[in-house]
Amino acid sequence: MSLDVQNLVVAYRTLRGDVRAVDDVSFSVADGEIMGLAGESGCGKSTLGNSLVRLDRTMRCLGGRALLDGTELPLSDWDAMDDFRFKKVSLVPQYSMSALNPTRRIGKMISEVVRSRKIRYKDVLPELERRLRLVGLPTDVLAKYPIELSGGMKQRVVMVLTTLLDPSLLVADEVTSALDVSTQRAVGGMLVELRDMGIVTSTIVITHDLSVLVQVADSVVVMYAGKLVERAPTATVVDAPRHPYTKLLIASLPEVGVRYAEHVLAGIPGHPPSLLDPPKGCRFADRCPLASAECAVEPPLVELESGHFVACWKAS
């Protein structure tokens, strides 16, 4: 059992009140597992991923906990978390195109970060260079400024850096979203390789684009409006989804081989609700084709069959 998240609640403190962007979410990721985290924009995916590594000053953990290899992560204790960051838990941020300091040469920046973690740069340099070559980057990127690299190259540099110390958990947030299709495949492949080579133990891949998860993920968690609504092995989610939201997400995927431009995505009518004051009962109710009276009460997450969890009254 590598990562175990239990009843996690994370909120943003705003002037108008708490925005509970992650609301009572539980799941676990096994050693060697790549878990996909899917859902429309604004469902709380990044919030969940960030909170496991960098719960910043605007966020509050209001409940629950996360265990990594049996040790509880001190999510709310910024300084104590520093012992885990980079070494045990790592985050490839959603904004990784701009994650590198624009005015520092990449090698210099990495050496400064590494040294600030009390590790000698000399000791990790050979491995750093080996991994850069592994992902198809020449080692002279270290002598360059970020502006000299293409988007895909920056993405790969960030991924090599975040995984340099072989973390137990890697959270990769929308790592493919800003890339063209072929680079997307390459980056997806990298995630699988990092796992296969044992560099990363468990991985959470966040994306609003389910088709990426079909390529890389072993299992998928679907979030809606801060809630976990379905969790199952990838094949089950794709072939036999049970939650109406997941079904609509899958239905809106383009068929294999069909290019986006030729195929207008069906999409799901309507928008996710505001999390400042979320609706009572099932949060999907106002967009759900199956909604009925019983949906005014929040459906619990139930295990329909081994490893397949769904939160919907109509699923069982």
């Binding site: 960098r54 910043d56 960051r85 980079f86 994650a99």
Partner: protein, 330 residues
């Protein structure tokens, strides 16, 4: 990169040409008769007035057709001559400006550089210390929002008129003859102090706020968050933020250094401090458009030089600009 600078130089040259032309033209379009102004200083018989008027008009080249005046202007300019001042007749304009510029530079160079250094330092500290931020920030806002003349008048009133700690006006005491004596230097210093302090304070507030806001912005940049997610200590994150925040500040410094040759008009006038800004007022009052032209030309050159320095500095300190250029010319 060479092509970039060649193009820049061409732009600067064209700007200079246009600016000089405007500089030549504008005073000539203004109403008023400068020779009449000059002659009114003397008490003259009407008959000698007419004679003198026409002879001065010839002496100042004002009787010529405009295109000749324009060409003569350029020719004289290229020989380093800006004509004769009417206000300080018969001194050449260059001499008058040279005297004033010493005062202006002695006042503005230290005020700008010191307020830059102190403001950046304090702004950077304010960005990370809540207590300091709560005190420095409002104080700085008040300082920058204060119009120079208010602060100047306030200081002049309190420290000069009421407390008599400092002299209220002039560049040195008129009872002294400029010599290299202690008494004269002391007089220079005491006259310098109040205008210096006003300029320093207002500049300080601006730099401090600028630096504080820039650092807070940088601390919220993606690269800063990424460093944090790698467990980098605050020290490193702040170091990066500070270094990046310095770049726009440096541009600001270069720009304000370029404009200091123009003097600080309001402050110099309030304290009657004989720098370039004060000279502008004298030139206007006496309709001395040769002097006015000379001063403006001086300012134009200063600003153009400063902009050129900014271009060079930015290429030197910011890899983004430098690499963008190299790629553009490859």
């Amino acid at each position: 990169m060479r092509r970039y600078f060649a193009r820049k130089l061409l732009t600067y040259f064209l700007t200079f040409f246009v600016a000089v032309t405007l500089d030549w033209g504008i005073p000539r379009l203004m109403p008023g008769d400068p020779i009449a102004g000059l002659l009114s200083k003397f008490q003259l018989q009407p008959s000698s007035y007419a004679v003198l008027h026409s002879s001065y008009t010839r002496a100042f080249n004002l009787g010529e057709p405009l295109w000749r005046q324009y060409l003569d202007f350029w020719r004289a300019l290229l020989h380093g001559s800006l004509g004769t001042s009417i206000y300080a007749y018969p001194d050449p304009v260059t001499t008058v400006i040279r005297h004033a510029v010493v005062f202006t530079l002695a006042l503005l160079l230290p005020a700008t550089v010191l307020s830059y250094l102190a403001g950046n330092k304090v702004g950077a500290i304010a960005a990370r210390r809540k207590l300091l931020d709560d005190t420095v920030l409002p104080f700085s806002y008040v300082l920058t929002a204060t119009p120079y003349q208010w602060l100047a008048l306030l200081l002049a009133f309190v420290l000069a008129s009421v407390a008599h700690v400092f002299p209220i006006s002039g560049g040195f005491s008129y009872s002294l003859v400029p010599t290299l004596s202690w008494a004269f230097l002391w007089s220079l210093l005491t006259h310098w102090f109040l205008p210096f302090v006003t300029l320093f304070l207002v500049g300080f507030g601006g730099w401090a706020i600028g630096m504080r806001n820039l650092i807070i912005y940088e601390l919220d940049a993606d690269y800063a968050h990424f460093l944090e997610s790698l467990g980098a200590p605050r020290r490193l994150v702040r170091k990066y933020a500070y270094k990046n925040a310095r770049l726009p500040q440096l541009t600001g410094l270069a720009l304000s250094l370029g404009t200091i040759v123009g003097g600080a008009v309001v402050t110099e006038i309030v304290f009657n401090y004989p720098g370039i800004g004060w000279l502008v007022l004298q030139a206007i009052n006496s309709e001395d458009f040769f002097l006015l032209q000379g001063i403006f030309l001086f300012i134009i050159v200063g600003v153009l030089l400063a902009n050129f320095v900014v271009d060079v500095v930015y290429v030197l300190v910011d890899p983004r600009t430098r690499i963008g250029l190299q790629e553009g010319t490859r």
